[in-house]
């Protein structure tokens, strides 16, 4: 069933018409969508119209959105106003992924509008782990932010999301913690598609589901963990006898950096007898909820490969002087590189106002660029 993207790739990838056709095809068959993995990320690529547009006819939005699984669609109907922000979250996640991997062979590039990252995600590799984590993190971030902007009607003291702590909230106590709300909602939404699958215990697919759930959690935890606590003293004469603290979301770049570290130290797992993931190398410590896990080794990202979905590094820019991953030697996998000169335009000598007034001069310089063969 999931040969949709493959089929399209064979018939010539990248043309707009085909992408559109495929999109229509996916929208028509939700059954197919449920099988096609990860495609809620596509919310980050296709702009969702502002929810205000959909207030009257509530239904269309959710059925029109590509890439939602059955239970995600239900959540969408319940929380229509959240969908834009989930899209935003996916977008920030993908952007951050691309930033963090800009110097790697696999650079988190999006392939098309439905499967987003292409077939590479079918392999339970470290890269897949990172992608799941960062996009889950993006959703927590975006929902919390929307919550602060007052855009979400259920945010705050929502009965639906935090029923257990409600009795204590008499007259607002403990409400308004939007990071917590973002975390809870992201868990409901992102994990929904994994939870609805029912694979036999111990099967490969089951292992993959467990891996995805773990990495989603790792991403959400990262946002939660990196959120700073700020406090304000406001007792008598400003003394600290009364102190109030609140969570403050960290810059998403920091979340990306943190997750990148977790990517580097991700744990290789396999499915155990009890249907749980266990370490392949027992000498290491068990991964915590903040750590990433993977079950497959990464495919070769050097060469284009239709089966694995690897795009290859042909045509990528590289750094001639660097000895790291972005260096031409490693990036081009020893195939060599082409050199050419381009003009680089920069804004300089600018005069700013705090928001939207900039007066700049344009400075141009000639730079060397290297591209993998």
């Amino acid at each position: 069933m999931d040969n949709g993207p493959v089929l399209r790739r064979r018939t010539g990838a990248g043309t707009v018409r085909h992408v559109l056709l495929a999109a229509v095809f996916f929208v028509c068959s939700s059954q197919l969508l449920a099988v096609e993995a990860n495609s809620w990320w596509s919310l980050g690529l296709t702009p969702i119209q502002r929810p205000e547009m959909y207030i009257i006819g509530a239904q269309p939005l959710c059925s029109q959105l590509p890439g939602l699984s059955q239970s995600q669609r239900k959540l969408c109907q319940l929380y229509q106003d959240h969908m834009t922000y989930i899209g935003d979250g996916a977008k920030t996640g993908i952007k951050e992924c691309q930033y963090q991997f800009r110097q790697r062979r696999w650079n988190c590039s999006t392939v098309d509008n439905t499967s987003v990252f292409g077939r590479v995600m079918h392999i339970g590799s470290r890269e897949a782990a990172f992608t799941y984590a960062i996009s889950a993190a993006g959703v927590v971030n975006a929902i919390s932010r929307a919550c602060r902007e007052g855009e979400l009607s259920t945010c705050g003291c929502s009965r639906a999301v935090r029923p257990r702590e409600l009795p204590r909230d008499w007259l607002w106590g403990g409400c308004g913690d939007n990071v917590h709300y973002g975390y809870r909602f992201a868990r409901e939404f992102v994990d929904a598609r994994e939870r609805e699958k029912n694979y036999p215990r111990g099967s490969r697919e089951h292992a993959r589901t467990l891996m995805n759930l773990h990495n989603n959690e790792a991403g959400r935890q990262a946002v939660y963990k990196l959120a700073d606590v700020s406090c304000k003293c406001h007792g008598v004469s400003g003394s600290c006898s009364l102190k109030t603290c609140w969570f403050q979301l960290a810059d998403f770049r920091r979340v990306g950096e943190f997750l990148k570290e977790k990517y580097d130290s991700a744990a290789a797992m396999r499915i155990g007898r009890k249907g749980k993931l266990e370490l392949i190398d027992k000498r290491f410590n068990n991964p915590t909820a903040e750590d990433m896990v993977y079950i497959d080794s990464s495919p070769d990202y050097c060469l284009r490969n239709e089966t694995t979905g690897s795009l290859g590094t042909h045509g990528r820019l590289c750094n001639k002087t660097s000895e790291g991953m972005d260096g031409c030697e490693l990036m081009c996998c020893g195939r060599g590189y082409d050199q050419f000169k381009t003009y680089k335009h920069e804004r300089c000598h600018c005069k700013f106002h705090w928001c939207c007034y900039v007066k700049c001069k344009r400075c141009t310089s000639l730079v060397d660029q290297f591209v993998c063969k």
Binding site: C155, R168, D169, W172, G176, H234, V236, T244, H353, W354
Partner: protein, 546 residues
Amino acid sequence: MAGAIIENMSTKKLVIVGVTLLLFQALAFMVGGLIAPSPTTSVNYMATKCVDASKHREDTKWFMPWGPNLCDKIRSFDEAMAKRIEANNIVFAVHIPMQNMEMSPWFQFMLVILQFDIAFKMHNQIEEGAVVTVDVGLAYRDDMFSEWKEMVHSVEQRKLHCNLSLPKTYENEGRYYDCDHLPFMELGSVAHKYYLLNIRLPVNERKKVNVGIGEIKDIRLISIHQNGGFTKVWFAMKTFLTPSILIIMIWYWRRITLMTRPPVLLEKVIFALGISMTFINMPVEWFSVGFNWTWMLLFGDIRQGIFYSMLLSFWIIFCGEHLMDQTERNRFSVYWKQVGPIVFGSFCLFIFDMCERGVQLTNPFYSIWASDVGTELAMSFIIVAGICACLYFLFLCFMVFQVFRNISGKRTSLPAMSKARRLHYEGLIFRFKFLMLVTLLCAAMTVIFFIISQVNEGHWHWGDHTVQVSSAFFTGIYGMWNLYVFAIMFLYAPSHKRYGDEQSSGQCITGDAGANSGEDIQLTTTITHVDGPTEIYKMSGKEAQE
């Protein structure tokens, strides 16, 4: 007439009283920890960027971030750049509270903190000592459909304290500065259901207004208010405590007036302590639920200040009156040296409070910390108050030390007495020390609980129950000082027990000369005051033999 109750009460009864007080103490902690929610809640808001398209500013126009009448908003400033919208046309709108909620007078107060998200740009960095000029309007309404009514409009200046923790390179463009949060607004009462803040950052290049403040990406506000649930528990507690302290106070004063001699200084001070406790207990805050009394917060501060300075004075005088030295006491003027710093210190804090909260009565956006002169002034008030506090504690420690040294000095003469008498004296000393210890314990408890509630944010889980540590701190400590005052008034009230012809008067073992009729054993040889009964603790032989 006899001595104070603390001396004449049997140990058994004293233990019963102590246990009862302890139970009440535990109850006070539990009320806060288990029933009340946390004392305050903060809510984060992100200002919505609205576009004010009109050429001329209308003061009556308010911009709503969401809802039916929402403004023309932009998602980011890149959008504004594309549409050629200028900085002066952007209005940051924040609606307090969030959607589907409403504020309530039970919140008692609301303070708002301002925070800027400023992105680092190589060419547009924050200048040294940058000042933001904020043009802000606050409006309110009590239902979702009526017009917004302006409450205040003000132009405020706030100094930016921002730094970038990363190297200033092109690589880090777009990362945010770490900015200190700025005090923004403080409301002494939350009488309305909905509030709307419209903030503008007008730019005027000629006058250097809002120039060099970096690239502002967002404005965040954090509003803090007292939880309604906590307020209710707090009021209930005050309402319960007021009559109990009032009754014991009346009972105490009746006992004093029943005596033949005029009351001594210590008795007067205890009575004053009772009055200030009742003053702070009086649940006048109930009115704040019905009326829009913005000065209630300031009034609360003043009441608290009066009580604490009274308590501190009481300790000094209590120690002084138990100082078994030769100087004549029982006059308030003797203590000016020690009470002076208290009065001066609390006066400083009062002035500071008036400068901040007093001005806020008219302009809620005023902050003494916003200007340099104000900051210096505020700091100097606080430092002076701190110095006074240090002085006070030095005096107090010295006096407590003296009392204990004198007591142990007296103790050496105890073995020379008859057994029964010695036992009695030892009992008295023990009870006095016990009270000193209770005071110390109360102070220690306050400090310890303060530290716990500071270090341990939020709540503890204890089985199925969540314990709100900071709520328990507030109700527990408040209950504790009430019980303390209660206990002092009870234990230091003159006793009714009669001991034959010779009567002891005064309280406690203040005086030391024992002019005894039965056995001529004197504890000390300190002077006996001419006006007699006050500081001498006389004891009948009969009683000694009991």
